[in-house]
Symmetry: C2
Subunit: 343 residues, 2 copies
DNA sequence: CTGAAAGCGCTTACAG
DNA sequence: CTGAAAGCGCTTACAG
């Protein structure tokens, strides 16, 4: 079957292509009679505009790119879901790419998206990323860029984040309130802003409660991919290094679950011997045993807000009235479960 | 900065647009001198072809659509990862859409993708989908369609699946071998081919071992979204209905974890009182306690194979030598853990 | 209210 | 080896 085109409709009806186009696009200067004629035939032929041609003319594709470190990840897949939902509402399609936390890959993905003509890019940075030229290049081409969760403060675009420092503070304070005196921290990699902020929140909570900060109580988990194993490894090391630790604030739930796994193996009781607070509120944290006290990080909402911001900016640009970038901070809350003592 | 175009390069160099295009696209009938001239300038200007124009001319977008029931899902997100990896290798971008297991939404998403001009569609069907006109319509437009995991046998396209019946048979046989005499089944919804097949595999294993099939031992879990809750609910009901069940084969890991959760609450020991086998090998199954015996379903590989098949077909079409659809069945294996007895 | 014309940026058969 | 021309399918300023 021959694909319907404006030309075909125009010939069939003996009307010019221009008028057909206007009728279909609800231009006001078309007679009702003509409009009906055109629309009916279009429906009958199941006419769909050729999007390649429309893109070429309008210079927009109604497509956006989304770059995330990993897809097999509870938090990020929730963000994706939030983005997809809002994008769908506004008629945008989303091309998803994974950076694997690699700077080189992230750069490549950005170029791919740009050369495919996306209208904008939503990104959560790779852990490795410390140079932001590729992001500034996006901005320089007047493409809309919005960052979420893993951001670079220095890049001049909108950002959707949580207050990691505050959330980590709440988590640590909860450990203190429930009676912990010697609190360790399993932190994330050194570069990402959010693991820095979580570390700082932990430290501040200690100091505000007159508990001395001890750098030897801070263990690093480098690699998101090996979170579970790193949790086990650090837990094992911690037991060797310190016999007096009674609480740990851990950078993510998955690391925490690895740690709990190791503690159980070694007969350490949770929360009686060591209390644990994770971060993110992965689904699995609610069903492990003991279930995990953690910080709820609103992934779905973060996705929605990220898309909203993109959409607001792109609309503003079309209206020739661009809006300045802004940073939106979402609320987090502490979810108390079995891995910490009630008080 | 003005975006570089063929026209701009052509003017700058005093060469025709046609020749510039050919030089850039490695046509053989261009002199080396001209080619170098053009390529150097193109690089210098950071020339990127306008993909909208290229798409319009070549009628392909190097973009494919992917429709899956849910994204926040260990198995499916692994499939996505496999697809993305291979797509990237071949220079394809992937637009991802979620059907939420809704037939109406699935139909809508397909139309969206088609009208956006994707080169093909990869899909895992919604549980609700029982009518396949929308899929046949894709085929009728000579778009490449490949189904994976949740398929419709009747649609004439390639399919990448596992042998659910055989896998379920293995799972049930394992329960029997480990000493279970009275084996229940928590099955999935009624429509999807794979929950039907898993049910049939369960039944066949019983019969082959001279264990009578008892329909009252089969419980249904309708809704993928509420897997955990349905697992709990069915476990509770099972304890009321039957005090002699000593093994359960469960349609997915998540349902199994819900069931285990309920059993633990009620003091039922696993595997001593009831042995449990799940399905999928979600990451969390390896870290719950007890860890879950399950069927490993190779999501990443399924994604890779799905893309490969798409790519093979699209290449064949371009070479004017289309290949017939095929069905590829991937291997599964039983992963023995703590929720079943060793023997 | 309608239509002729230009043009988006590219590719490709064809002529020379 | 090079280039003029047509055309992919649409939109939009402009003239009538």
């Amino acid at each position: 079957m021959q694909k319907a085109s404006l030309k075909f409709i125009s010939k069939t009806l003996g009307i010019s292509v221009a008028t057909v186009s206007k009728a279909l696009n609800d231009y006001p200067d078309v007679s009702k009679k003509t409009r009906d004629l055109v629309c009916n035939l279009a429906k009958e032929l199941n006419y769909k505009p050729n999007s390649f041609a429309v893109n070429l003319r309008t210079k927009e594709s109604k497509t956006i790119g989304l770059i995330i470190p990993v897809i097999v990840h509870y938090f990020f897949s929730n963000v994706i879901e939030g983005i997809l939902k809002e994008a769908e509402n506004e008629g945008y399609l989303v091309i998803i790419l994974q950076s694997n936390d690699s700077y080189e890959l992230e750069k490549k993905q950005i170029n791919l998206l740009i050369s495919h003509g996306v209208d904008g890019i939503l990104i959560s940075l790779a852990n490795e990323t410390a140079n932001y030229d590729h992001l500034n290049a996006v901005l320089a081409q007047d493409k809309t860029l919005v960052m979420f969760d893993k951001i670079a403060k220095i890049v001049k675009c909108s950002k959707i984040i949580i207050d990691d420092r505050n959330a980590a503070y709440k988590a640590t304070q909860h450990l203190i309130d429930s009676g912990c005196k010697r609190i360790a921290h399993f932190r994330g990699a050194l570069l990402p802003q959010n693991s820095i902020d979580r570390f700082l929140g932990y430290k501040k909570a200690l100091l505000d409660n007159n508990i001395p900060y001890d750098a030897s109580l801070v263990y690093i988990c480098e690699c998101e991919d090996k979170s579970f194993e790193e949790g086990q490894k650090n837990a094992k090391q911690l037991l060797k290094d310190h016999d007096d630790v009674d609480g740990i604030f851990i950078n993510t739930d998955l690391i925490a679950i690895g740690a709990i796994n190791e503690f159980r193996k070694q007969g350490v009781r949770i929360p009686e011997d060591i209390s644990i607070v994770g971060f993110s509120n992965w689904f699995m944290s609610s069903v492990t045993s003991p279930s995990l006290t953690t910080i709820n990080q609103p992934g779905f909402e973060m996705g929605q807000k990220t898309f909203h911001q993109f959409h607001a900016e792109i609309k503003a640009i079309k209206d020739k009235n661009p809006i300045p970038p802004r940073t939106i901070t979402l609320e987090t809350d502490l979810v108390k479960r079995e891995s910490t003592k009630s008080f």
